[in-house]
Symmetry: C2
């Protein structure tokens, strides 16, 4: 309950002989990990784990047992403190009085720090200094004065140290005049600035001095490292702050020793510097391993997850529209922040990326819809609809990170619908289906039917999102291969026989008399291919069927964009350039690759297919307006009968929407602002009705683009202590990016002159990237890869430690079969029952409960409603009954439950096993 101790910054200085004089030279420093001064290299080493020798720890223990320990010394300056320490030693008979002068002379020598020199000075240096031994102007040398020196103030390292930090200074060295070591451990009553002792202007709280007879410098050094490491240890620093006497400190060391991890000398080289781990056990956890404390903490975490997921909705779901009401109640307070939090540089990249994804999607689906519906819905409708539905959704929905879009399943349905509506007026029929479906959606909202998402486990989620990713990848590649058909390559072309290749227009033999035009008067040789065919002519010659270069150029653009994006994305983890530059390049990787390959395309100037956006707003078909009138064209029974196909649409939309929402709201995304499944579905229903009236396509959450949206908005901590890994903080949850994307989509009509420079293959490359990227971090995909890996090379996934490989393979196989069935269904006429099949996925998963043990499923599928529910119950009971139920529930969670461990090999958050979370989301 007391305030936590300040962070300790520890600096170790060693006594060096500088000609006749002596000085204290900084040799290492710690915030959390050790950074050492590389002697010859005159630089800081990489932060690393301090590997100590057991010996030095024992020697340190002896030092503290025999040396002077001054706790809560009232010191205001270094000379005074040193005087006090020496006085104490003489008092205790540890030091001969005649050494007082010599000792205090040594201890008050100047301190020389290893500071970073500004780049212009170091560049100037390169030419200047001839030998590395002449003056080292970049090392600051500080006097023991009271005020911080300019070198201290200029030191940028201060940024890495928390504001409230205090310093502990370790001074070690050997001097001739001592016969036995002079050891002192001092804690000051108040943290005090001791002039130039510390490299940064941070007040000193602790001082450890070890001076000893000559000849054992290495050993003193190790003892210094040991105390420095102890000082930055969370538990020991607590002891050091609170110690009442020497014995407390000794006990602290013993506690530390009890916890240390030992590496056998034959299996490890002590010279290897160990990189800081991604995560270290917190001091809390170390304090209380497996104590009740921890159980409480775990439950707290689970509770937090519940809140994050939109907690408690199902409890209050008895009320009509209760879920919707709660969603609104929960989301409303965040509404203002949804806007101001959107203004960030990262948003620009996200907007560009998602915008390009959206218009490509709009163009592609628009084109396909146009084909499927005889242009009743075309590119223009697609653009308008996307812009309208998307921006409304992002403005008002429960989860504004979701991006609405036409999706594959909906397209298939529309196609079947149009084919089916033979003899019935399509637009009116579709309107009624839309209305019915919208109504059904609203009923689902009102009855809180979204509770079904608790059955959407990893199995269903991953099956569905993999399917969508595959569709993306498949479409991108299909489009690319299409280019080779559309622009056939003349493989018989011989450069030397260029004279043999021509394409001549031949006039039709008997010119049809019915034609009013006087075709004979035409100059046939001057006609283009289109004109020629229009007037009934035919093309003769070796080169007629072929189009040079375009197919190959398209391929280069397509593949180039894809692999460039992939490469630049990875650049984040390279060693080149400062972190910020790399992050910028990685964040904007797609923009850079798109620009680059647009540039390549422009350089060659080839007539590759470009992004063509209609430049005036009017329906694609002339015979339709912007409003569909509901009555008059079809017989009355159609209005009622359309409820049946509407049911299919509703299932499809519901599944598509909610699975995507579950994926977006995954616990590992660490969303703060909670989900709003009911509110989302409500808006999807409303927009469905609006779109139906306007004759626009229907929109639903697009899995791949939504994941891309989330990915481009991820936040990480700026690293604090050197060596500490940046932590994933969460996603920039806001409505701005989504809204701007869709507003941009809307006004793309006016951007047509600029957008027309973007070649389509580049956009297909982006599509391919999106598809492939969204496969990453899907555990199913990781498990598929396991098939190809020999057991000993498999990554150390947690589930592999706990579930036999053959069970994992079986689970994966079931998923693969399901996916294959879905894929086949999608490609045949049975596509109409596709929505029902997705529902069937949930059923298949329920059946797996009979084949797999709950233990195995806990590890592979992560969410097990029954068990979780039980635990949830237990938790509630516990809350009421206190600690009574603990031991039993604890056993169940035991060592086998995924919630306890988080050492899934790559501990980035996408891959970390989600613990439960999902059924607490409603």
């Amino acid at each position: 309950d007391e305030p936590p101790n300040p962070t300790l910054f520890t600096e170790m200085d060693t006594l060096q002989r500088d000609g006749d004089d002596m000085e204290w030279k900084e040799s290492a420093r710690w915030i959390k990990f050790e950074e050492k001064v590389e002697e010859g290299g005159e630089r800081w080493s990489k932060p690393h784990v301090s590997t100590l020798s057991l010996h030095s720890l024992f020697e340190l223990r002896t030092c503290l047992q025999t040396g002077t320990v001054l706790l809560d010394l009232d010191g205001y300056s270094l000379p005074q403190i040193i005087d006090d320490v020496i006085e104490k030693q003489i008092e205790d008979g540890l030091l001969k009085p005649e050494l007082r002068e010599k000792l205090s002379y040594v201890l008050l020598r100047k301190h020389r720090h290893q500071t970073k020199k500004p780049i212009h000075r170091s560049l100037a240096d390169i030419g200047k200094s001839v030998s590395s031994n002449t003056g080292e102007p970049h090392r600051s040398m500080n006097d023991i004065s009271d005020t911080p020196s300019t070198d201290q103030l200029k030191n940028k390292f201060i940024k890495k140290i928390p504001k409230d930090a205090e310093a502990s200074n370790v001074l070690v060295g050997e001097v001739e005049f001592l016969e036995k070591p002079f050891v002192a451990f001092v804690r000051l009553l108040q943290a005090t600035m001791l002039g130039g002792v510390t490299e940064v202007p941070v007040p000193t709280r602790f001082l450890f001095i070890l001076l000893g007879p000559a000849g054992k410098a290495k050993s003193y050094n190790e003892i210094g490292r040991a105390i420095a490491t102890l000082m930055v240890d969370d538990l020991f620093s607590d002891v050091a702050y609170k110690a009442r006497d020497r014995e407390d400190l000794i006990a602290g060391i013993d506690e530390f020793l009890d916890e240390v991890i030992v590496l056998p000398p034959g299996e490890w080289d002590p010279n290897i510097r160990i990189e800081p781990p991604k995560k270290v056990p917190s001091a809390e956890k170390r304090k209380s391993v497996f104590s009740l404390n921890e159980v409480g903490q775990m439950n707290g975490a689970a509770g937090g997850a519940g809140a994050g997921g939109g907690g408690g909705g199902s409890d209050d779901g008895e009320m009509f529209c209760g879920g919707l009401y709660l969603d609104i109640k929960r989301k409303l307070p965040w509404f203002p922040s949804d806007f101001y939090e959107g203004f960030h540089i990262q948003s620009i990249s996200a907007i560009l990326f998602i915008y390009l994804g959206c218009i490509t999607n709009a163009i592609t689906f628009g084109g396909l819809l146009g084909d499927a519906t005889d242009n009743y819905q075309g590119v223009m409708e697609s653009f308008l609809g996307t812009a309208m539905a998307g921006s409304m959704f992002c403005l008002f929905a429960g989860q504004p990170l979701i991006i609405l879009s036409s999706t594959g399943p909906i397209l298939i349905f529309e196609k079947l619908l149009f084919d089916f509506s033979n003899g019935i007026d399509y637009m009116e029929f579709r309107l009624w289906i839309g209305l019915h479906s919208a109504l059904q959606c609203l009923i689902l909202v009102a009855t809180d039917a979204s509770f079904i998402i608790k059955y959407i486990t990893r199995f269903t989620e991953e099956g569905f999102s993999t399917l969508i990713s595959f569709i993306f990848i498949y479409d991108a590649i299909k489009k690319m291969i299409g280019a080779f058909k559309y622009y056939p390559i003349n493989s018989d072309f011989k450069p030397d026989y260029v004279t043999m290749y021509k394409s001549r227009v031949r006039a039709p033999r008997d010119i049809p008399g019915s034609n009013a035009l006087n075709l004979t008067a035409l100059d046939w040789t001057q006609l283009s291919k289109k004109e020629c065919l229009k007037y009934g002519g035919s093309l003769v010659g070796k080169s007629c069927k072929f189009v040079p270069d375009l197919a190959l150029m398209s391929f280069i653009l397509f593949f180039g964009t894809y692999s460039m994006t992939l490469t630049l994305k990875k650049f984040k983890f390279s060693r080149y350039f400062p972190t910020k530059v790399r992050a910028f390049i990685a964040d904007f990787s797609n923009v850079f690759s798109i620009l680059l390959f647009c540039g390549v395309d422009a350089c060659f100037g080839l007539d590759t297919p470009k992004l063509h956006i209609p430049s005036i707003i009017k329906p694609t078909r002339v015979d339709r307006g912007w409003f569909v009138f509901p009555f008059g064209k079809n017989p009355w029974w159609v209005y009622l009968a359309s409820a049946l196909p509407a049911l299919l649409v509703t299932i499809l939309i519901f599944m598509d929407q909610q699975i995507t929402a579950v994926i977006v709201n995954r616990k590992e995304h660490k969303l703060r602002k909670a989900a709003g499944y009911h509110l989302d579905l409500f808006w999807v229903g409303i927009l469905m009705a609006v779109c139906s009236f306007m004759g626009l396509p229907w929109y639903v959450a697009a899995t791949v683009i939504s994941i891309a949206h989330i990915d481009s908005l991820k936040m990480e901590t700026e690293t604090s202590a050197p060596g500490e890994q940046p932590q994933f903080l969460g996603v920039r949850e806001q409505r701005v990016t989504g809204i701007i994307v869709f507003v941009l989509t809307g006004i793309s009509v006016f951007l047509a002159p600029i957008l027309k420079y973007i070649p389509m293959p580049v956009l297909y490359g982006v599509f391919l990237y999106m598809g492939v990227a969204s496969l990453n971090g899907i555990q199913f995909w990781d498990r598929c890869k396991l098939f190809l890996m020999p057991a000993k090379h498999q990554p150390d996934y947690v589930f592999l430690r706990h579930v036999p490989l053959r069970r994992i393979h079986l689970f994966t196989l079931v998923q693969i079969v399901c996916l294959a069935v879905l894929w086949i269904l999608k490609s045949t006429v049975a596509a109409i029952i596709f929505p029902v099949m997705i529902l069937a996925l949930i059923l298949v998963r329920r059946l797996l409960d009979f084949i797999f043990s709950q233990h195995d499923l806990a590890w592979i599928d992560n969410i097990i409603p029954e068990k979780e529910k039980k635990k949830e119950d237990d938790k509630k009971k516990k809350k009421k009954k206190g600690n009574k139920g603990d031991s039993s529930s604890d056993e169940e969670v035991g060592t086998g439950s995924p919630g306890m461990e988080s050492d899934y090999e790559d501990s980035d958050t996408e891959k970390a096993p989600r613990d439960m979370g999902s059924e607490t989301t409603l």
Copy 2:
């Protein structure tokens, strides 16, 4: 002097309750590193460093102090041994006699091992078992019988255990009936097969038993791990084998404790499994850190390096032709093994790779030479010469790993020579230059002038090889860009206006009367481009200048081959497929990519430029034969004057040859069969004379291809203990690959029908790969990259720890400037003095001695002749005077000399700092 102790395989079994009965279940094993049985996963964990708790080590110490220690027990079976142990405990009053039966019952339970099941059985399993808890047929259960069971014999793990290994068995568990722990440490007089106790049929030498009261299983387990880790420690196992009593063992533990490395609990998570390091300190080194012993060892290593490099040549160099004589003397004994060692699967890949490199080189340089010399030397000459010179060299030279080839510098010289020989008969002039140069080479051989290579330090070496790599890369890219010029793309092509593009032949307006042919009778429209131009016609039309698809296709083939090779090469380090498959794919990466892209090319069937090799053997020019007569065509003074240009050629050849040889003979390649600089140069001279007489190009060692040759012949240990890194063993030194490559080159003339399917862009891709690959592992290149890295992201190269970054940058800058000057020289008319400039590189390096301290150069440039010489002297003195000079020379080498450390970040051998080696090579 005594034979080393056998390797110990340690298995730890824990007591498990299996229903009513008990059994011993294997829970971990050690050869060098720990492998743990993953409980739920039913699999072996990855080998990892055993992280122990200090606590468990102390507890183990107590156990050995209080428990029963039986050394040299004469045991023939487990029951008897256990009887003896229990008897001893009862004797010592440690155990109540009534527990005898119970204890021996427990200790004789069956042992269940974690063995790998054959794949077909595990596949059958997948479907069978419904719950993971029903029978686990893949775990073998062994009775305590005398003969090894089939499960033991079938266990393939035995392959990982050295033949002479002995086992140590650790048995830990908790039982109800004991009140205090039952501890026994047994060493058998003879290693004995104890039936099914060990998972593999390895005789047991040590047995550690710890049974204790219930409730502390975890602690017993940790103690078991501690003793197991100790048993596999080289030093402790030595103690265990030799211990006379309990105290010796305790002392062994104390020694171990003194050496352990401690990780602070706040900076490391004990749950992280630490990957085995690439290298661990050897037991020898651990025994005698900084003792005289080690100094001796170091010198031994240096001596070894000298032998590897061709040692002692310069000492005996006083004799005329002494170096040559010694080279022959040294190489002769290896001659037979040079042949039989060549028959290995790896050779096939090497041959294919180098063969393709050679013919591409031959074609390229042949073509360029043809252009440069008006076809006096063309592709045919290039092929014949390469085959002849290469095979002779590989057959007889000192270093058969060197591949001879036309090189860039020689090509430039020939070009200049031809331009210069205006009015003089080129072939005769060239013959005389060749003869003079050959003579000069032989003089250099006779005078042992190769001593100059001791001044070829990393600076010169890397400067030169980088230059050559750049030339490779530059040429490959230039050739590729050439394709775009040669096959221009019609960027104005509009697919719709295909009718507008044609190319018509127009007959010349006034047909030249001098022509005998009746040109008017020609059907001009039927002529090809070539014919048309031949007969003086011209081409008219929009498509005449353009060639479709070829340029882009070439680019795809070029870039595809390059990046595919790169990707497949990296595949070696992926997780997929068994190690052997991956090694195969990586070794044959170039073959696979060449085949793949030949396939792609064949699929498209485009008329891409193909590899065309002349199919009959005759000189490229009709007016020359296969022998150049030395007299008659030029005035007499030309015969003498040609000595001057010959001098330039000699310098060029000498430098080119010897630098490449130094690179090939680098110490890090671990060559056993020594170098032969004099012998190499001798053959280069001889071949030069022969080539001059036959009018063939001159040949000299080709840096890039030679490096590729070495790289494709590298040998590594097959991993022994799980977790141990494969060690680089050396290079498959033999003459077979080289000879076959050149024989194949020779008969390529007959392979023309097959080779004509290989597109040139694919070969340029191989070229690019070779150039880029040979840049890897060049320290200069690593240092260049440092410019782009912020200091904190720089890899932990040793030289960065010891030399200030600005000095390193300065050194790198000097190299860059030298390289730039060389590059510019190469591209201008000054190219004629290019050879002299390479000599100048050595001079520049000597000048750097005045700018850089010897300490810095020791780290960056590695070889410092003076210092090394001094050390060499010291060594000699030492040998004579015994240990007298040690301390002084030791100080000099001190902690700052590169020879001492080898923790250059990636410790693969290419990058490891070479220590000296080079000046001891002569």
